[in-house]
Symmetry: C3
Subunit: 138 residues, 3 copies
C-alpha cells in the first residue's frame, strides 16, 4: 500500500466563495503515482466545505441564496456562538454542504462522473485556510 | 491490497425515487472476494444521491415532503440554474441527502448496523444514470 | 495492509445529545498501530450521526435550535413514519448532520485541522446505541 498527503491553501476575497479544485486533485493523483485506491479530500476548518456538484454559475448563485435561507448570516445575535464571533452561520452552512468527499482512483485518475466537479466551499473566508488531500492505494 | 470497481445503472419511472441497493452492494462484496476493507458507493451524477437510512415507506414519504419543503421543485423560475433546465431543486435535494457512503467491509460482508439500508436517491430521473462501487482491501 | 475494527457504545440521558468522541478515536488509532491510512467512523443506527465541528457550547445550542427548525420533533403526527414510533424527526436531523466521517491517519495520529473535533450526535437516545470505527492502512 502506498499513501500520499498534501495540504492545499486558500485565501478567498469574499466571505463566501466556491473554488473548483478538481485540477488540483488531478495533479495530486498524478504526483502520488497511485493507480488504484481512494482519495479523501476534506476541509481542515469547520466553517468550510469540500463538495461535489456542477460548475455552473447560476447554480452557485442558487446555492448562495438557498444557504442564506436555511442558515442566514444576520442578524448575528440570533446565534449563541456569536459571542466575539460572527460566523455561526458558516458552521451551519458547511454542515449542509459537507466536510469531505471520498473519490475512487482508477487507472491513475479521479473516477468521477461526466459532470462531477470538486469544490472548496468557503463560508468564512478572507483568511488563509486549508484542505487535506490523502490518497491510499497502489 | 486488492481493489474492485463496478458501475450500477438505474432508470427510474418517476422524477424522484428511492431504490434499496443493499443487495446489489452485498453482491459486489462477494464478487470482489475482499474480506476486510472499505467500500465507497457514490452517485456519478450531481442530481442523485447514495444514502443510508430505514427501508420504511412512511419515512420515504416524509423525506419526499421534507425535501420539497427545503428545496421545492416549482416554480422553476425561482432558480438561476433553470435556464433551459428544470432540475436546480434536484441539485439541492441531493446536497441534503449526500453524494456517497463509505461502508466498512468485515469478514467478507458489509459491516452495517441492524437497520442500515443503502439507497439510491434519484431526484431527476426518467433517464439512465449510474452509481460507482469501489472496494479496496484484502 | 492492516485493518482494525471497534464498536463504541453510548447511552445518552437525553433524547438529543452531542458527545465529543475525539479522544476515543485517538485511542483506536493508537491501539491499531496503523501509522498511515484512513479511518471510517459511522453511526450504526439511522437516528444518530457522526460529524466534525467545533466543541463550543453556544454552537451546540445553535445546532439544536436550527435542527428543530428544519425538522421539528413535534407534532408527532406530521410524519407518516410515526405510527407506533415518534422518531421520524431524528431520521431527518441525522440526515442533515451526516452518518459518517472519514479521517486521514498520518504518523500514527488523526490528521485533523486545529479546531476539528469528532462528535457522536444522538437524536433518539436514552437507549444503548453504537458507532463503528474501522481503520485500514499500514
Amino acid at each position: 500500500m502506498r499513501s500520499y498527503r498534501k495540504e492545499l491553501w486558500f485565501c478567498t476575497q469574499k466571505r463566501r466563495e466556491f473554488i473548483n479544485i478538481t485540477p488540483l486533485l488531478e495533479e495530486c493523483v498524478r504526483e502520488s503515482g497511485i493507480q488504484d485506491g481512494l482519495l479523501l479530500c476534506n476541509a481542515m476548518h469547520i466553517t468550510a466545505s469540500v463538495f461535489i456538484n456542477d460548475d455552473e454559475e447560476g447554480l452557485h448563485e442558487d446555492f448562495e441564496r438557498w444557504l442564506e435561507k436555511l442558515a442566514p448570516e444576520k442578524p448575528y445575535h440570533q446565534y449563541k456562538h456569536n459571542v466575539g464571533e460572527d460566523n455561526a452561520d458558516a458552521h451551519l452552512k458547511r454542515t449542509i454542504m459537507g466536510r469531505e468527499v471520498v473519490i475512487a482512483v482508477t487507472d491513475g485518475k479521479l473516477d468521477l462522473g461526466p459532470w462531477e466537479q470538486v469544490f472548496y466551499g468557503e463560508f468564512d473566508g478572507r483568511r488563509r485556510k486549508r484542505v487535506l488531500v490523502k490518497i491510499i492505494g497502489e
